[in-house]
Structure formats: structure tokens, C-alpha cells
Symmetry: C2
């Protein structure tokens, strides 16, 4: 999909030779302007050097000029050498772009854990990478993929003409040691860093952090928003559009989960708080039993109810309602329904589970995918 | 397996007709003596009436005389009717045994969620059940099974001649709506209720609560210890033997996980606390990616490391050690190892993962099983 990046951004991708497939694996976002930005990254105690380095820069509060991303190698659990390899990747790009400070270039890596990053190949590819800088986000979206089956982009245009373009990859800890969810959102809306940092954590909580493929949080996850501040925009409209883009990317990531044949969307309403609603939605979307039932088109509300129960979200059990594909199958007690007919309606690419906890006014969503024998094959039938 | 129950107990099982298979499904433990007891049960907010009723009795502190258990129907999410059906099951047995109080008879149910308990069939079977009371625990161990492939018993004899006999079933939330882990441990060791209640929670934390099959906590889980106090016993020796019996049952439950072909045993050492050690062990044993790797005999330490990281347990990453089948594959960084040879040694029924967090002195264990395509088939290829 050819999507033009927002004003004040240039973007590129090339093949550095990190992926065995020979597909593009080195990607760059660059701006001639200092970028306002906000970052959310993995809370796994085992973190790749790119995560630690970006966090350190984030804490300093300074602007950045872009991010270089490699796929095919997560550069994680690679010891002290990994720290310097990561720094070298940033340095090679900063130097080619004549940036004043190497710290102005952020980094991200995704791929196999525990293998040394072939930084020589990256260095060798950097001239071609910077020479390729242009306006089409498509090659970048392709180059950051690992086991994904499709590139993931979403965008929005605001009333004043400013734009938001989001690009993501990954889902769950996936294929042999692959590390995971990366999301990059670029905008030319004139929104300052304080504003971005105020809204981004909540948006990530409600979108990317509500995606579950197999519950394994990666060592390399990050979600980044960058603003070139070129075009005036309404704060409220911007925040809503940013959340819409993040939410679209999140559901695309879930739909492309490993071995997935269906997207599960779980809507929880009637919760005491948004956090409880999201916890319940996430627990249901992440339940192996619910996922397997979705795979088998089994209208199995018992598993949904049990998952809600263990999520810790408070509900009024006498009034709790469960809907599947728009049909209420449980409300305080089992309701009669046409199991064969409902099963037929579950044989589709999107399964929608609605749960009303009947305990409050808050709501939340989560996205997941079905659990297929293919998932097991992908993750088992492989030898390191 | 024919195991004689401890002194002061009688045990029985019959077929009431709750299981479609026609196998035994109603079981009873009874004592002519008031029994000291301790209980741990599910913290799922959705609880079956048997769980709530036993908890209420537990809180009263009074002794009990036994427990009646049905399989084939969890009597959960059955509304107010389920509460009375559960009471009726206890009442039918209490009446047949001429107990002074119906509350002296505890209850447990396991099986399909959301279907009315056929309490008439249970009532009709109670005379045969009480008539069958005897000394062999085997029929009871068979009758409480649902999708289990084998009965699970473990026992120990103390120096003074007192005995501990444990019986368990289940593992994870399993086959279509089946509810789950039940463990009953009987002893004639003269250990009072206060003592039992002091040691049981810790033992259950370290044993049954460290079993993970698919992470779905059931609505009906319970682990019960009953003592007839017939034979003097050393407190310390008793506590150790009780933990040994519970641990053996826990690993048997894990080994018999749905679709499992391998037992995963995860030993964590070098933790700051037992709770952190257990959390790390549980997270590794419960990781879909680790489980799939075990299934495929893949010596994939990256997934183990990532799971340790997200468990929240503090480790010294520079010294953290991971061993697989006795061979160290990671220590602060990847170590060279013979991947093909190690993969060969992973093609066995027991996979042992050792993790030294290098951060303290505490240790903990967890038990799980591999994730097979068979698990998906069992849980997906079914229509309610």
C-alpha cells in the first residue's frame, strides 16, 4: 500500500542481508526538523539495547530526528557487544545524515534473539538507505516485517490538513525467537512534546497493549509517535484521530497473529473502570480455551464466563451478559440458542464477543486471534 | 491402582449417569469421626456453588465428616437452582449416612459448565454409593476424572505408621467446559485443624498452584486435606510428607494435561524470594512459546529468557543461567552447544528446565506440559 508520509518526514528501506529470505530488512524514518515524540516500550525485564537506549533518550526530553529499524535480528541477549552494535547502527545512520548528535537517531530491532547483529552489513547498506529516502511509507512497512503475512498501515487526515500515518509489525512473541510488536506513528500535526507524552500512554494502553496473540511479552516491543509539527491541528481532534490510527493498527496486528485464521474482537461494557474493562477483555481474548473455541466455531460461553471470572474484573453475576456475533447466549444464566446456527455464524474471519459486566459504566476492548494447530506447527516444528 | 485409605476413612464410587460415557461419576469420602480439615479453592470470581458452600463451612471452623464429589457436570453458572441442587446432593448423602447436620458433608463438582445438575440421578444413586463404602481409593480416583487419561494418586507412610493418601484429577480448564483441578488428601495422622490450616496454604501454593496447563483458572478448583487424627505423628515429618504427596499429585496433573506428550518441570533457583522463584517458574511453564518449543524438541532458550523477563522476577542478567536437560545453554550470553544433540535429548517424556536467577537464595518449581496440535483439536473440534 503506497501511503505518503506526513510533511517533514522522509522514509526508506533497503536490503542489508539480515533476513535469510533476502527481503528488505533495514528501514529509516528521518526528518530535517527536530521531532516531538513519545514512546511506550516493553516492561519485560529482559530488554534489547535499542529499548534501553530509546528510553534513556526519552527521559532526557530532547527532540530526535528519526529512527533506524532492522528486522531479522533482535539484537537481544547479545551481552555488552549488543549495546555497542546498537550504538554503531545509530552512528552509521547519524553520520550519513550528518546529524550533530548520534543520540538524535533512535533505533529498533526485531528478529531472532541471542544472535550477534551483523552490524557490518548494516553499515554497508546505510548509504543506499539514506539515498533511498522518499515519501512512500510502503517499503518501510514491508521491511520491518518478520513472520507477519502482510504489511500494516493506517492513516487519518485532520480538518486542517495535517495527517497521521501509522505503520506496525508483529504480534506476540512469534516464530522462532522473533521479537515482536513495533509501531511507528508519524504526524505533521503541530502537537508539542508535552501534549504527545500526555496522550500517548493512554492510547497505547487502550490499543497496542490490548492485543494478545500468545501472551508472551517481547523483549523489543515499542510504540513510538513522532511529530514534525508542520501543520496546525485541534488537540482534541488530533488525540481522537491518533487513537483511531493506533486502534486500527492494533486490530491488524491481532488479525495477523501466527497461525491465525480469525480476528477476535472483545468488547466489554458495564465495568467499574476502564482498567477493569480492559483486563476482562484482554483475559478473554488471551484465553487459549476461548481462542481454540473460536477456531472450532464453538459458541462456548462457559469458557468466556470463566475467563471473565479470573480476570478479576468485578461484575454483577446475576446480570452479566455474554453476546456472540450479536446474539445473547448468557444473561445471569444460560439462555436457549440455536447452537448449530450460531456455530455457522462463527465460521467467519471475525468473531465478536460482547460482555456486559453490569457493574458500572466503563468499557474497553481487546483484540486477539484464534488458536490453530498451525500456531503449534509454526512454533514447534523448528529446531534452533 | 489399589491404595488403602488411611484409618478412620471409608471411600466409594458408583455410576449415577452424569457422564455420557457411562463411567463412574459419583464418589464419596466418609468418616465416622469428626475430621480436621483445610481447604484452598479457586479465586475465580465465577465460582460454582460447591466452592462457595465449602468456603462458608471452612470459615465456620467446624469439623466435617466427608465429601461427595460428582463428575460430568460442574454445576456452575446454573443460577440459584444450582445452589439448591448442590445442597440437595449434600443432603441426600448426609441423610443416607444419618449425619446430624447436612453441613457436615462437603461437596465438589467437575464437568460441563452451565448445564443443570441432574440431581435426581444423584439422589437415586446415593444408596448404592453409601453401600459401596470400603477401603480402596481406586474407584474414587477413577470416578472423579473427566478428560484425564489416568487416575492420579500418591501416598506416604510416616514413621509412627500414620499415612497420607492423595487423589487428584484434572488439569487446567479443559475439554469443552470441563472444570478442573480437584485434589483430596486423606490422613490418619493426628494433626489438628489449626496445624493443618497453618501448613496447607503454603503447600498448595508450592504444588497445585504451580501447575499450569493452559492458564485458565477454573470455577471449581479445590484442594482439600482431611484428617481423622487416629495415629500420632511428628508435625515436621507430617508437613514434609504432605508436601511431597501434593507435589507428586501436581506433577501427575501436569503430565496428563490435555493433548500433552511431555511433562515440563521448571526449577528456578537464585531468586530473591520463593514467590519470585515460583512466579518465574510458572511463567516459563505456562508460556505457549516454551510449550510449543518443548513439543518440537527445540532447545530455544530465547523464549525461556523472554518468559523469565516478563515474570517480573528480579535477576542478575549478566549471570542468569539457563539449563536444558542438564546442559547450560545460556549464562549471561548465549553459550555454544550441540543443538542437534540437545534436540535429540528433548525428544523424551520429561523436559527439565533449570534457571538460576543469580539474585538470591530462594528457589521454586512449576510443572506444565507441552502444547500440541492435539490440544487445539481437543478444544476446537467440538461444537456445543
Amino acid at each position: 500500500m503506497a501511503v505518503r508520509v506526513p510533511m517533514g518526514f522522509e522514509i526508506a528501506a533497503v536490503t542489508a542481508g539480515l533476513k535469510a529470505s533476502g527481503r528488505p530488512d533495514l528501514a529509516l524514518v528521518y526528518s530535517p526538523y527536530p521531532l516531538a515524540w513519545a514512546l511506550m516500550s516493553t516492561d519485560n525485564i529482559v530488554k534489547a539495547p535499542c529499548v534501553s537506549r530509546n528510553r534513556s533518550r526519552f527521559t532526557s526530553g530532547a527532540a530526535v530526528r528519526g529512527i533506524v529499524v532492522n528486522s531479522g535480528n533482535a539484537n537481544c541477549a547479545t551481552g555488552e557487544r549488543g549495546i555497542w552494535d546498537n550504538e554503531d547502527m545509530a552512528g552509521a545512520v547519524a553520520s550519513a545524515l550528518a546529524l550533530a548528535r548520534v543520540q538524535d537517531m533512535l533505533t529498533a530491532s526485531t528478529g531472532v534473539i541471542g544472535q550477534t547483529l551483523p552490524v557490518d552489513r548494516i553499515r554497508a547498506a546505510v548509504p543506499a538507505l539514506t539515498a533511498a529516502l522518499g515519501q512512500d511509507s510502503g517499503p518501510f512497512a514491508e521491511a520491518i516485517l518478520t513472520t507477519d503475512t502482510a504489511a500494516k498501515q493506517a492513516n487519518a487526515t485532520l480538518r486542517g490538513g495535517s495527517r497521521i500515518v501509522g505503520i506496525a509489525k508483529g504480534s506476540g512473541m512469534i516464530h522462532p525467537n522473533m521479537a515482536t510488536l513495533l509501531a511507528f506513528v508519524l504526524t505533521d500535526a503541530d502537537v508539542g512534546q508535552d501534549e504527545l507524552r500526555a496522550v500517548w500512554p493512554g492510547i497505547v494502553e487502550r490499543s497496542f497493549n490490548q492485543v494478545t496473540v500468545d501472551g508472551d511479552t517481547s523483549t523489543n516491543d515499542m510504540a513510538l509517535v513522532l511529530s514534525s509539527r508542520q501543520i496546525g491541528a485541534d488537540r482534541q481532534e488530533f488525540a481522537e484521530a491518533l487513537e483511531e490510527v493506533a486502534t486500527k493498527l492494533a486490530s491488524k496486528v491481532a488479525r495477523d497473529g501466527e497461525g491465525a485464521t480469525k480476528l477476535l474482537t472483545v468488547h466489554v461494557s458495564g465495568a467499574r473502570s476502564g482498567a477493569e474493562a480492559r483486563a476482562a477483555a484482554r483475559t478473554v481474548a488471551g484465553s487459549n480455551l476461548v481462542k481454540a473455541a473460536a477456531h472450532g466455531a464453538d459458541p462456548n460461553w462457559g469458557r468466556i464466563l470463566a475467563a471473565v471470572g479470573r480476570s478479576g474484573a468485578v461484575s454483577d453475576l446475576a446480570n452479566l451478559r455474554i453476546g456472540l456475533q450479536g446474539e445473547t447466549v448468557y444473561q445471569g444464566a444460560a439462555l436457549p440458542f440455536d447452537a448449530a446456527g450460531l456455530s455457522e455464524r462463527l465460521r467467519t474471519e471475525e468473531v465478536i464477543i460482547e460482555i456486559d459486566l453490569a457493574a458500572g459504566e466503563a468499557h474497553g476492548e481487546a483484540w486477539g486471534c484464534d488458536l490453530s494447530a498451525e500456531y503449534v506447527h509454526i512454533n514447534a516444528d523448528y529446531t534452533t
